[in-house]
């Protein structure tokens, strides 16, 4: 809904990455972006309230925001209305510095201006004027300086402050928050200026629950000032490459911690031992830390853990042994580690597991045998492992599996029929050169698929015909070079497609674009390295939702694309021709 409810403050706090980035599946291809924010909102409106009229309040808020000329102050409006108007103006990017002045002294509670263009110290004066009414503020990505932050000094009831990526904010800013006993959430990610001298002021914020210092390179030795913040529940020190084992000592008494991120820090085995009393810890993300099996004794004692990310750590089968007792684990990432079949035995009884990532591990068929009773698995990533067709026999009972990645393995056409009974699958990646039409045709029973990756598989026009069974497909990659215009015609009925990659199919011509002209939900289209020309672009006119288009090495000129953008595809913002 347009005038978002002002009380939903909790949603704005950055969700900590669980190591399974939702957009990862699109990472290989070049871009995937939704159209402008406006559009996004309209879509969700339609879905939420099919046939329900927008409220008069909503309509009046929108209308007010369209005609703001001459408005000097919103002071006379009740504050819940002012809040709605402010939210709408921010969302539609219609708020100018001058107009923001009209919100001075309006007793507004929530001001979310994160990454809003043009925010600087003059905006902070208006924010400060809300005084004790202000409860949440976000000015991430702004030009605000220490002087601007000083305006917040009188907002002593504030609960949430988010100022990520503010390159002019330094130590002194933190001193202005002294005495903010209501402050529960503070975030200043990517701050390159804050040092222990500033961190000192955190000691005076006894009610902090969430502290996010991701990618701050100068905070080492500053953690001594948070050791008394025993109410802390979430602490993010991810990508702080200044953080070492000795810093962990300061966390040893934070026994209320539920989530801790130390990914890509320099914490070693010795540092992990300081975490042994954090018995409530549910999420521990230590991706890329230089730790070995020696840290696993401590990990084994953290029995509340539900999410553990050990990606790229020096963990071997011996370390896996310590996972045996972590019966609450739902989400385990061991990708890019040295674990092999021998270590998988210790996962056998982790019945709560829902997400298991073993990308690029030396796991073979024998290792996978241990997963056959992990019936709660929703997502399994075995890409770049050593598995072959035999491994698929052990997956047949995983009836809750929604996502399976067996790309770049030794699985062949002969094996794929074994997973044809996994009808709950929504996402399947079988990107491998040895997969052909035959393998794909064995999977037509997987009618719930929304994402299918056949990137390098040798699919031809013959095989692509079987895609018609996957009516719910939203994303598809078929880039093996064997598709011609004839094959593209069989995609016509896949009208839910938002993301389509047909690049590397050199025989595709303008006729292929014609066949795609009915796929009006397409947001991203890649037809690079094909024989498409300027003349074919006219067929893209109906694709109003298109935001990215890739046509590398095609006979298409920038001028023709610009004409297309100007005339009918205003959302098309990402274009790649070379």
């Amino acid at each position: 809904m347009g005038g978002a409810c002002s009380r939903k403050r909790d949603q704005r706090e950055g969700d900590l990455d669980d190591g399974y980035g939702g957009s990862a599946r699109f990472s290989r291809s070049f871009y995937f972006r939704w159209p402008s924010r406006n559009f996004e909102r309209d879509i969700s409106d339609e879905q939420d309230n099919a046939n329900k009229a927008p409220s008069l309040l909503e309509l009046a808020v929108r209308e007010t925001c369209k005609n703001t000329q001459g408005i000097k102050s919103f002071e006379k409006l009740p504050r819940d209305l002012t809040q709605k108007i402010l939210n709408e103006l921010v969302q539609t990017q219609a708020l100018s510095r001058e107009l923001f002045q009209a919100f001075e002294d309006c007793a507004i509670q929530d001001i979310y201006l994160g990454y809003y263009p043009g925010v600087d110290d003059s905006w902070m004066e208006v924010i400060g004027s809300q005084k004790f009414c202000l409860l949440a503020v976000d000015f991430s990505g702004s030009m605000v300086t220490d002087e601007g932050v000083q305006c917040l000094q009188i907002c002593e009831n504030v609960e949430i402050i988010c100022m990520n990526e503010c390159k002019y904010i330094s130590d002194i800013s933190l001193s202005y928050f002294t005495g903010f006993t209501n402050l529960t959430s503070l975030s200043f990610q990517k701050n390159k200026l804050i040092t222990p001298a500033g961190m000192r002021h955190l000691a005076g914020l006894p009610n902090l629950k969430h502290l996010d210092l991701e990618r701050c390179p100068k905070i080492h030795d500053g953690l001594v000032y948070i050791k008394g913040l025993t109410k802390l529940e979430k602490l993010n020190l991810g990508w702080c490459n200044c953080i070492r084992s000795s810093d962990m000592k300061q966390l040893s008494g934070l026994t209320n911690l539920l989530e801790l991120q130390i990914s890509r820090s320099k914490v070693k085995d010795f540092g992990i031992t300081f975490l042994k009393d954090l018995k409530k810890l549910e999420v521990l993300n230590m991706e890329g830390c230089p730790v070995t099996f020696a840290c696993m004794d401590t990990i084994a004692g953290l029995t509340s853990l539900t999410t553990l990310n050990l990606k790229s750590c020096y963990i071997s089968d011996f370390g896996c042994r310590k996972l045996e007792g972590l019966g609450n684990l739902k989400n385990l990432n061991l990708s890019y580690t040295n674990v092999s079949d021998a270590g998988m035995v210790y996962l056998k009884n982790l019945k709560s597991l829902q997400f298991l990532n073993l990308d690029s591990c030396k796991i073979g068929d024998q290792g996978v045998q241990n997963f056959k009773n992990l019936v709660n698995l929703k997502s399994l990533d075995l890409s770049d492992s050593l598995i072959g067709n035999h491994a698929l026999n052990f997956l047949t009972g995983l009836s809750k599996l929604e996502s399976l990645n067996i790309s770049s393995t030794m699985v062949t056409d002969m094996g794929l029929h074994k997973i044809s009974g996994l009808t709950s699958l929504k996402s399947l990646n079988i990107d491998s050169r040895q997969i052909t039409d035959t393998g794909l045709m064995a999977l037509t029973s997987l009618t719930n698929l929304t994402h299918l990756d056949l990137f390098s598989a040798r699919i031809t026009d013959y095989g692509i015909g079987s895609l018609r069974h996957f009516k719910k497909l939203q994303s598809l990659e078929v880039c093996g070079g064997g598709i011609t215009d004839v094959g593209v015609k069989s995609l016509k009925d896949l009208t839910d497609l938002t993301y389509l990659n047909l690049s590397q199919n050199g025989q595709l011509t303008d006729q292929a674009l014609e066949a795609l002209s009915g796929l009006t939900k397409l947001v991203s289209l890649n037809v690079g390295n094909s024989s498409v020309t300027n003349a074919g672009l006219q067929h893209l006119l109906p694709l109003k939702n298109l935001t990215s288009l890739a046509l590398q090495s095609c006979k298409v000129t920038l001028w023709a694309i610009q004409k297309l953008q100007a005339s009918s595809l205003p959302n098309l913002v990402i274009v790649r021709l070379r």
């Binding site: 009229a53 409220s55 008069l56 009046a60 209308e63 209305l81």
Partner: protein, 99 residues
């Protein structure tokens, strides 16, 4: 013939009376509470609601919205036009009427 109990009278600050279908009035949550609660409001019995703070043109617009909303819900999805000069007053009314 429209029966009296099927209609509701809304009275503006200036005393202007709008007689509308009860069904339309129920689009407003505030009116719904007033008109359907068990006897605690006099409005429930009389089918008459006074709005000493809502001017005639605004109340008229509100009534138009009630009917537009019903049409919208039945599948006739048209635009609802709001004159720019009345937006702020209409905001207040919509807020009060929980509409």
């Amino acid at each position: 013939m429209v029966r009296k109990e099927d209609t509701v009278t809304l009275i503006s600050a200036e005393g202007f009376e709008f007689i509308i279908d009860r069904k339309a009035a129920l689009v407003s949550n505030t009116l719904k509470n007033m008109l359907t609660s068990a006897g605690s409001f006099t409005e429930t019995e009389l089918g008459e609601v006074r709005f000493p703070e809502i001017s005639t043109p605004i109340l008229e617009k509100v009534c138009q919205y009630f009917y537009w909303s019903l049409q919208f819900a039945s599948g006739k999805e048209t635009e609802f036009h709001i004159e720019p000069e009345m937006t702020l007053e209409l905001l207040m009314a919509a807020n009060y009427l929980h509409t």
